[in-house]
C-alpha cells in the first residue's frame, strides 16, 4: 500500500511538470463543443447526456493509455528503470499507483465537459441517480487503471504492439459506445464490445444521468469491476514477465 502511494505521489509531481501529457485535457472542451453542436443543431436535447459524457470518457481512456504506455519507456530513457529493478520493492504496486493517479487526473475531463455544457451551451445537467453515478465512476477508474497497466508492460515486451498504439483510440471509442450506445452498432460487433469495459461504464453513466430507473445496475457495475480485475491480473502477469526478462537477459526489449 505504501508503494502504491509512493508511486502515486511521484506520478503527480511528474504530471505537473509535463504539460505535454495533458493534451487530452486541452482538447476535451473542444470535443464537447463539437458533440453538443451536433446535438443542438439537430434539436435533440435528450442526447446532451451522450455529448457531455463522451469527451470525458475519451479523455479518460486516451490519457491513461498514452501515459501508462510510455511509463517504462520513459524510465528506460532516463536510465532509472534498471535502478528500479534492482530495488527490493515490488514494482507492480508502484506502477499501479502511478497509473491510478493518471486515471484520476484524467477525470478532470468530466469537469471540463460539464462546464462547457452549462457555461457555453446552457444545457442543464442533473444527476438523476447520484449513488449509481458515483459508484460507476469509481468502478470505471479502477477498471481503467487495470487496463492501462497492461499497456505499461505490453509496449515494452513487443515493439510491434507499440506500432498499434494508434489504433487504441477511435476503434475503442466505437466499441466502447462512448457516444453512440453499442446497442446501435452492427450485430457482429456486439460480442467484442461486451468485453470492452468502457461499453458497460458508458451505458451506466448515461443511465445514472437520466430519470428512468436503470436496469440491473448491480450486475452491470459488477461487469465493469470484473473486466477491470481481469485487466489488473493481466497487467500484474505482464509486468512479472518484463521483470523476469530484465533480470535474466539484462535487457527488457524483445525486439521484433
Amino acid at each position: 500500500m505504501r508503494l502504491l502511494l509512493t508511486g502515486a505521489a511521484y506520478q503527480l509531481r511528474l504530471l505537473r511538470r509535463s504539460p505535454g501529457d495533458l493534451i487530452a485535457l486541452a482538447t476535451t472542451p473542444l470535443l464537447t463543443v463539437v458533440f453538443l453542436a451536433v446535438v443542438e443543431h439537430n434539436g435533440r436535447p435528450d442526447l446532451a447526456v451522450n455529448a457531455v459524457l463522451a469527451p470525458a470518457l475519451i479523455a479518460l481512456w486516451g490519457m491513461s493509455l498514452l501515459i501508462a504506455g510510455d511509463m517504462i519507456d520513459a524510465e528506460r530513457a532516463t536510465g532509472t528503470f534498471e535502478v528500479l529493478v534492482a530495488t527490493p520493492a515490488r514494482l507492480w504496486p508502484l506502477f499501479t499507483g502511478r497509473v491510478l493517479v493518471v486515471t484520476v487526473v484524467s477525470l478532470l475531463g468530466l469537469v471540463e465537459s460539464w462546464l462547457v455544457a452549462t457555461v457555453v451551451f446552457g444545457v442543464p445537467l442533473r444527476v438523476a441517480h447520484p449513488g449509481l453515478f458515483a459508484v460507476t465512476l469509481l468502478a470505471t477508474v479502477l477498471a481503467m487503471s487495470g487496463h492501462a497497466g497492461v499497456m505499461t508492460s505490453l509496449f515494452v515486451l513487443s515493439r510491434s504492439a507499440r506500432i498499434f498504439q494508434n489504433s487504441l483510440s477511435f476503434p475503442f471509442y466505437v466499441l466502447g459506445g462512448v457516444l453512440v450506445p453499442v446497442a446501435l452498432l452492427p450485430a457482429f460487433l456486439r460480442p467484442v464490445s461486451t468485453v470492452v469495459f468502457l461499453s458497460w461504464s458508458a451505458d451506466l453513466l448515461r443511465d445514472s444521468l437520466r430519470p428512468a430507473a436503470p436496469d440491473s445496475p448491480v450486475l452491470r457495475v459488477g461487469m465493469v469491476l470484473g473486466l477491470g480485475a481481469a485487466g489488473a491480473a493481466l497487467s500484474w502477469w505482464l509486468l512479472s514477465v518484463v521483470l523476469r526478462r530484465a533480470r535474466r537477459t539484462g535487457s527488457i526489449a524483445l525486439g521484433g
Binding site: P19, A26, N50, F170, L179
Partner: protein
C-alpha cells in the same frame, strides 16, 4: 528560383519519407493507422445513426473524412519541431537559400498518407453509410480533396512556424487546431450554425471551402459554387504560405537579434 526551391524541397522530402518509413511499415499503416482513421470516421457517421437521420449520417461521414485528413496533415507541427530538435536550424539559416522550401519539403510525407486514408474513408466507407458517388461526382470530389489537402498543408506550414518557436507545444497545437477545425469548418454542423465571429475564423480555414464543396458533391449537387470553392482554396492556401514565410523570416530575424538560434 523555382528550380532551386524544387531541388531543395525534394532534398528535404527525402527526410520526410525517411521519417515515414520509420513510423510505419505497410502492415502497421494498414492495421494500425488506417483502422484507426476509419474507426474515427465511422464514429462521427454513427452520430447520424444515433440521430436516426440518414442525411446527418452522410453529412457526418464526409465531415469525418475531411477531419481525419486535417488531423494527419497537421502532424506537420510535430515534424517541423523535429527539424529544430535535430539542431539543424542554425545551419539552415547559414545556407544561402530560403528555408521555406526546406520546411515545405520536410513534412510532405503526411500528404500521400492523408490523401489515401481520407479517400478510402470517402469512397469505400462512404457507401456503407449511404453516401453514393457517381464516377463524375467521385472524380470531382477527389480533386477537391487533393486541393483541400494541399491548402491545409500550407495552413499547417504557417501554424508550424509558430510551433518552431515553442517546440514543446508541438503536439498540443496540432491537436487543438485540429479540434477547432472539426468544430467550426462545417465538418459536423453547417458553418451557419455559428455566430458571425466564429464564421469569420472558419472562412480562414481551407477545410471550410473543401467541406462545402464535398457536401454538395455528396448530394450530387454540381454547381458553380464548387468551382468558386476550388478557387478560394487556392487563394487561402497561397495566403497561408505567405503568412508562414513571413513568420519564418520574423523568427529568424528575432533569433539573430536575441541569439535564440542555438548551436547544438
Amino acid at each position: 528560383m523555382v528550380s532551386t526551391w524544387w531541388r531543395v524541397g525534394r532534398a528535404s522530402a527525402a527526410n520526410a519519407f525517411a521519417d515515414l518509413v520509420v513510423i510505419y511499415t505497410p502492415a502497421s499503416w494498414v492495421f494500425g493507422w488506417l483502422v484507426r482513421v476509419l474507426a474515427q470516421v465511422a464514429f462521427y457517421a454513427l452520430i447520424g445513426t444515433l440521430l436516426e437521420s440518414p442525411a446527418q449520417q452522410r453529412f457526418l461521414l464526409v465531415g469525418g473524412a475531411v477531419t481525419v485528413m486535417v488531423t494527419e496533415v497537421l502532424l506537420v507541427c510535430a515534424s517541423t519541431a523535429w527539424e529544430r530538435q535535430a539542431g539543424t536550424l542554425p545551419l539552415l539559416v547559414v545556407a544561402p537559400v530560403s528555408m521555406v522550401p526546406v520546411f515545405l519539403g520536410r513534412s510532405v510525407q503526411w500528404i500521400p498518407s492523408a490523401l489515401a486514408t481520407s479517400s478510402i474513408a470517402l469512397f469505400a466507407l462512404g457507401p456503407v453509410f449511404g453516401v453514393g458517388w457517381t464516377v463524375g461526382t467521385a472524380l470531382l470530389a477527389w480533386a477537391v480533396l487533393v486541393l483541400t489537402c494541399l491548402a491545409t498543408y500550407l495552413f499547417g506550414f504557417a501554424v508550424s512556424m509558430l510551433v518552431l518557436g515553442f517546440i514543446e507545444l508541438r503536439n498540443l497545437v496540432g491537436a487543438v487546431v485540429t479540434a477547432i477545425t472539426t468544430a467550426i469548418s462545417g465538418a459536423v454542423v453547417p458553418v451557419d450554425f455559428w455566430p458571425a465571429g466564429v464564421r469569420f475564423v472558419a472562412h480562414l480555414l481551407p477545410a471550410t471551402y473543401g467541406l462545402d464543396a464535398l457536401h454538395r458533391l455528396s448530394r450530387e449537387e454540381i454547381t458553380f459554387t464548387i468551382l468558386s470553392n476550388a478557387g478560394l482554396l487556392v487563394l487561402v492556401g497561397v495566403g497561408w504560405l505567405g503568412i508562414g514565410a513571413s513568420l519564418l523570416a520574423a523568427l529568424v530575424g528575432l533569433g539573430r537579434r536575441r541569439g535564440t538560434l542555438e548551436f547544438p
